[in-house]
């Protein structure tokens, strides 16, 4: 793929929220629509359903743009949670309403100055943190998070005990958090 200049997705979402800017939406659609579909296919959704959910997710981006709070999350993380909620609904897990505060990232609670929040918005920092994990930890987190397998399913797939899967996820996530916090302190 031809490399493109980095786009300011926060500005695009703001244009959608403030002036229902269709051109801005088309740009966001062209970048994220196919990636949402890829994510869903990778996590086991049949291609036809993934197509439908990706379109639905982009429609939600349009409708909820005003609820996006750039001080709390990257656009990518926000769109990720939208896709995750729709998939959860489609599977009738019925928990998407509980994630409702994700869409606004908890505007009912005051924003907190938090190294994790600011660090987590920096995609490069998060990627570097992921690379710092050992392969077992990264694999367990990937399977839990991106293939949406339960921990029991991961345990079965990898042929390791459930406790081992949980420990890999736990220590992997703690390591990620420590990495991001360290990076943020370094910059301060």
């Amino acid at each position: 793929m031809v490399s493109q200049p980095p786009r300011d997705f926060r500005a695009l979402i703001a244009c959608i929220a403030q002036s229902q800017d269709r051109d801005a939406f088309v740009e966001v659609f062209n970048f994220y629509g196919p990636r949402i579909k890829a994510l869903l296919v990778r996590s086991g959704t049949p291609p036809a359903a993934a197509e439908e959910l990706a379109q639905e997710a982009m429609l939600t981006v349009w409708r909820k743009a005003a609820a996006y709070d750039p001080t709390r999350a990257s656009v990518a993380a926000w769109i990720f949670t939208i896709a995750r909620n729709l998939r959860s609904d489609a599977l009738r897990r019925g928990s998407s309403a509980l994630h409702a505060f994700d869409a606004t990232f908890g505007t009912e609670a005051p924003a907190q100055p938090d190294a994790i929040l600011s660090g987590a918005q920096d995609g490069a920092c998060v990627r570097a943190a992921m690379r710092s994990l050992n392969p077992d930890q990264a694999q367990a987190i990937e399977m839990a998070f991106f293939q949406e397998q339960t921990h029991s399913q991961i345990s079965h797939a990898l042929g390791v005990p459930l406790g081992t899967v949980k420990a890999r996820i736990r220590f992997g996530m703690m390591k990620l958090r420590a990495f991001v916090e360290r990076e943020m302190r370094g910059q301060a």
């Binding site: 994510l39 897990r93 509980l98």
Partner: protein, 213 residues
């Protein structure tokens, strides 16, 4: 400051991944609503999701997908309508619990009352509110399945320490569990239960026909 009890990292990841059952997700969401500090952690999980989404090789949408979505942009948002009235919902509860109808309070032992949170169910797993009077204990019970608990008001103590509002407890199925209320006011908790609680002993045998916890 007392030790804070929060969901394990792997359970928070499962919540973020959407793989928890609805009843478990209700209890985790209650904790997150009461403890914004824990959200710093879930935001990190979401950020990891965002970074991976950005880096994925795109999977082309069908021809006409953009046109189809553009054609729907002006259609009304079905979710934007007025929420249906929930006569038995309790708006004093933490926000994740406000959207559910509630069953009546039922007696479940000396000083103990339970009511069902209607809706979130997954097989035998369901959500209840548990209200226990000061100084009283929940009926002694063993866990058939995982029990997740989040304290809403008051406090209780177990072998693992004191649990205060916002604290989250993940019960070990192998442990005989008997929390005792240590606050001056009743302790209100939300819990996800899998299967029936077994009440051991003679009292349990006597209560079993009546108490369906």
């Amino acid at each position: 400051m007392s030790a804070r009890h929060h969901p394990s990292e792997e359970r928070l990841l499962a919540f973020e991944a959407g793989t928890l059952s609805a009843p478990e997700a209700v209890v985790v969401a209650t904790h997150l609503a009461m403890r914004p500090q824990t959200r710093a952690w879930t935001h990190l999980a979401q950020a990891v999701g965002g970074a991976v989404l950005d880096d994925l090789a795109p999977s082309a949408l069908e021809d006409g997908a953009l046109a189809a979505v553009l054609a729907r942009l002006d259609s009304p948002d079905p979710e934007a309508g007025v929420a249906p009235p929930l006569p038995t919902a309790d708006h004093s509860l933490p926000s994740p619990l406000r959207s559910f109808e509630l069953g009546p309070w039922r007696w479940a032992g000396p000083g103990v009352h339970v009511r069902n949170v209607l809706g979130p169910r997954d097989g035998d797993c369901r959500v209840i509110l548990l209200r226990i009077a000061p100084g009283k204990s929940a009926p002694r019970h063993t866990h058939v399945g995982v029990e997740l608990t989040c304290v809403i008001e008051g406090a209780y103590a177990t072998e693992d320490g004191v649990f205060e509002p916002g604290d989250f407890e993940e019960a070990d199925p192998s442990v005989l569990h008997q929390p005792r209320v240590v606050s001056d006011t009743p302790c209100l908790c939300v819990a996800a239960l899998d299967g029936q609680i077994v009440l051991p002993g003679r009292l349990g045998m006597l209560l079993a026909p009546f108490v369906r916890l």
